[in-house]
Amino acid sequence: MTLRATTLPPRKISSLYFLLPWLAGAGVLAYAFIAGGYLVTVLGFAALYAIFVTGLNFFMGYTGQVSFGQNAFAAIGGYTSAVLTATHGWPVFLAMPLGIAAAALLALLIGYPTLRLRGHYLAMATLALGMIVQEIAVQWDRVTMGYTGIAAIPALGAFGWELPNDRAQLASLLVALGFSVWVSSRLKASRLGHALAAIAGSEDAARALGIDVARYKLLAFVIAAVYAAFAGSMFAHFVGFISPEMFGLHMVVLGFTMLYVGGIGTVYGPLIGAFIISLLPETFRGFKDYQDLAYGVALIVILIYAPKGIASLSRLWTARKKEGGA
């Protein structure tokens, strides 16, 4: 899980390999900013999912737990933002923090009893949470407009000024994503991150060293919820419209795919996974009817050759020699 644990000195050739994917990513982004249009939307979704999955990674990767219900927190962030800004005319910079705070509070209330569960039971409990919140979004139509959804949500902005176009919105999403990943990497290297890793390794061993397992699990759950709500709220302002279907089980499955393809438990895995999974179906558009088939095959190939995710490939590269001797 920790990258700095390998003892081999950095080599020039392999550092070039590490750089290549980032350069490719930067190239795609640059192209999007120049060409605009549909690609900007795709990359915007990728950035939103990258934030969402970076949060999920706190709970599932760093802490080794499982949650099928993160869509609930994204929905709360998204709907709080949408209702307060579109229906009640609040400014974005007030609505967004309120949505995040609401999600954090719910995570605290739900997490306290459910995090005593482990494995499958925790998965079931969180799955129920996601379904309940989505159902509320459907049924409470006086506030959420049910399946009709809420339209005309203002773009990000403050004091009567809004981001002028989708490129500016994408730029703001990338800044938000950069900040989210930075926080994730700092926390992973901190005392908190080490405690979470200990819990992922062995709850009993962690407890016997004086680590308050219940408290840290709850904290990781709340952090994941904050990330999800932030992504959900940004989503509402980026697209300008939300409806319950956007926060369904599909979101959970997509998040899991990104997490595992990118590399669970790594800092950059969620980001890599989100962009690859978002762009992959687009690159197979030429296959027409066989697009889904090609996408599926590509996923399988990735998981065969990079079972721990793409972010772990670099480590495999350097560790290969070592493992023979160890």
């Binding site: 700095r4 200990a198 390794g201 062995s202 060293l209 004086g210 680590i211």
Partner: protein
């Protein structure tokens, strides 16, 4: 004899099954006591129950004050530290990170952490050479050294060890137990669970024999001259 640890009527259960029947046990300050018994005798359960990791009933006093039965963190904070069965090291982390986690309760007292680290490296010089290596890639013996080293980082006043010799070559096992003897001579109280009775009885002045979830005898090493003596105790109980 002032008692460091005093266990009275401690029992433990997994679901409806009582794996440890009410048990009494005492350990004086600076003493090394062994708990011997065959597989499934409840040795690990006894240690887990003392730590509050497995639910049960009864009373555990440490330095004259009750230990909570359901709050392992609080037990660890009092200085009762467990080296769990199967070592429980964190494989994907480096040796150094494992040791740092041992000193988790110290927070940011870096001076004290560094001092303890020095001491652990003096006990197990091999860990010093392997600081940056992933713990999961260590050999079995080194992993056991790491598990004990990590426990020492927590600054134990009483060390509970669950079969530290498990899966190790005889020479390595003897080496590790010798280190435990050294720690004990420096005054550390140790409760040592072992299946290899001869090894444990070289160090311990007193041993409890466990069989099918209860203490069947309290013996001194000279009462156990041969494996037959042990077998007699175990089977007399069953």
């Amino acid at each position: 004899m002032e008692s460091l640890l005093s266990v009275e009527g401690l029992s433990a259960h997994y679901g409806n099954v009582e794996a440890l029947h009410p048990t009494d046990l005492k350990l004086a300050s600076g003493e090394l006591v062994a708990v011997l018994g065959p597989n499934g005798a409840g040795k690990s359960t006894l240690l887990r129950a003392i730590m509050g990791l497995t639910p049960g009933a009864g009373r555990v006093r440490f330095e004259g004050v009750d230990l909570p039965r359901d709050d392992t963190c609080a037990v660890a904070m009092r200085g009762v530290i467990l080296v769990p069965e199967g070592r429980g090291i964190f494989g994907p982390m480096s040796v150094r990170e494992n040791l740092d986690l041992g000193a988790y309760l110290l927070g940011a007292r870096h001076g004290e952490i560094a001092a303890r680290l020095e001491r652990v490296f003096a006990l197990f010089p091999r860990l010093k050479d392997r600081q940056t290596q992933l713990a999961g890639s260590l050999s079995g013996g080194e992993q056991q050294m790491l598990a004990i080293g990590r426990a020492m980082m927590a600054g134990p006043r009483l060390l509970l060890l669950d079969e530290p010799s498990l899966g190790l070559a005889p020479r390595l096992a003897a080496e590790i137990l010798e280190t435990l003897g050294q720690l004990n001579r420096e005054g550390l109280g140790i409760l040592l669970v072992e299946q290899r009775a001869p090894l444990a009885l070289k160090l311990a002045k007193r041993a409890y024999l466990l069989s099918v979830g209860r203490v069947v005898a309290e013996v001194t090493p000279d009462q156990i001259a041969s494996p037959h003596d042990l077998a007699r105790y175990y089977f007399a109980a069953a």
